[in-house]
């Protein structure tokens, strides 16, 4: 026997505790008169009860009790790693800038002495390498912030 179609949605709301006082009274009144809907309501209650997780086991309670402390330690670790990465990045940029400061004038002096300017591909590559834009790329940003994205990782 199928439940009444007009009560189908209300029975799910009832099982989920989503009915207003008035609606719930109306539904309960209907259930006392309609065996099919009463059976459906019972099935829905049992389905949701079966879906619910069991009470936490002892090892789950223990795991939860240590969560705050472990998370605090993990945060400190991640902050140290982050500081090291940022320090390394700053050092890398400073070294690259220093190298550019030395190499670029040398290259220019050489071309001035020869009175024949020729673009040095090595110096050009170094200049590109040391330019700030090289540190603003997606890969570098991701390395520093890969754990912070909120994007859905896909189904």
């Amino acid at each position: 026997m199928n439940p009444c179609p007009e009560f189908e949605s209300a029975l799910i709301d009832r099982a989920a505790g989503e009915l207003s006082d008035a609606d719930r009274l109306a539904v309960e009144r209907h259930l006392s008169e309609c065996p099919a809907c009463a059976a459906e309501a019972e099935l829905l209650d049992k389905t949701l009860a079966a879906v619910a997780l069991p009470p936490r086991a002892a090892e789950e309670r223990a795991a939860l009790s240590s969560l705050a402390q472990r998370t605090s330690l993990a945060w400190r670790r991640s902050e140290r790693t982050r500081s090291m990465l940022q320090g390394a990045a700053a050092g890398f940029m400073a070294s690259a800038a220093a190298a550019a400061l030395i190499l670029v004038p040398l290259a220019r002096r050489g071309t001035a002495a020869n009175h024949a300017y020729q673009a040095d591909p090595t110096v050009a590559a170094l200049e590109r390498w040391a330019s700030p834009s090289a540190f603003g790329g997606a890969a570098f940003r991701d390395a520093l912030s890969e754990d912070t994205d909120l994007e859905d990782e896909g189904e």
């Binding site: 989920a16 505790g17 989503e18």
Partner: protein
């Protein structure tokens, strides 16, 4: 919303957060990022039960559940820090909503990586093919619960997320909608479809095992 509602008939218990909680979270985030360690602990204590309960749906082992919960908190703190730096002193971050969004994603990815649950082809279920309470009782209780919990992870993504937040997180549909970025009505529709599908899956299993 909860004030004009009678207690639900089943075991569901709705927990409605006070609006001030979100503001409190932002303030705690700001205090923590300014160096107040106690604010960090308070944020974790405030949300750890909710986070852990949702994660339990996806992680079979207690250690995994704890690790996933930890990762979720770390990601949420990092996201809050970035947002607060961008927004300045008067900024507000929906920490709890972000945390739950992250938890759902981490849980889903964990379950997939573990291959703990085989994804079965989801059938188009006939809405009239329902079981009966007595048929449901014919399954052993532990088996029925195991089946039902596994069936949750076989639900389509939207339905699964809403059901998890509702059943495990005990969130109101308004907050579920906020977390998932959908309308409240859409959240309710997902929930209805999820319950129908679970009921049909269980009924189908009962029929298959009946002599």
């Amino acid at each position: 919303m909860a004030e004009n509602r009678l207690p639900p008939p089943g075991k569901l218990r709705l927990v409605h957060r006070a609006p001030a909680d979100e503001l409190g979270d932002t303030e705690l985030c700001r205090a923590f990022l300014a160096g107040d360690e106690t604010a960090f602990g308070e944020l974790i204590r405030r949300h750890q039960d909710l986070v852990f309960e949702i994660v339990r749906r996806y992680a079979g082992r207690a250690d995994d559940a704890r690790d996933l919960s930890q990762r979720a908190f770390l990601k949420a703190f990092q996201a809050a820090r970035r947002a607060l730096r961008r927004l300045g002193g008067s900024g507000h971050v929906p920490f709890r909503a972000w945390l739950l969004r992250i938890v759902i994603n981490l849980g889903k990815n964990h379950a997939r990586q573990e291959r703990r649950w085989q994804r079965a082809p989801v059938e188009v279920l006939d809405s009239t093919s329902v079981g009966t309470p007595s048929a449901l009782d014919s399954l052993e209780r532990s088996e029925r619960e195991k089946l039902a919990r596994a069936a949750v992870l076989l639900l389509p993504r939207g339905q699964r997320e809403v059901l998890t937040l509702r059943i495990d997180g005990e969130l109101a549909f308004a907050e579920i909608a906020e977390v998932l970025g959908i309308s409240e009505n859409n959240a309710k529709v997902h929930f209805h479809h999820a319950v129908k599908r679970l009921k049909a899956l269980i009924a189908k299993k009962v029929r298959e095992e009946s002599p």
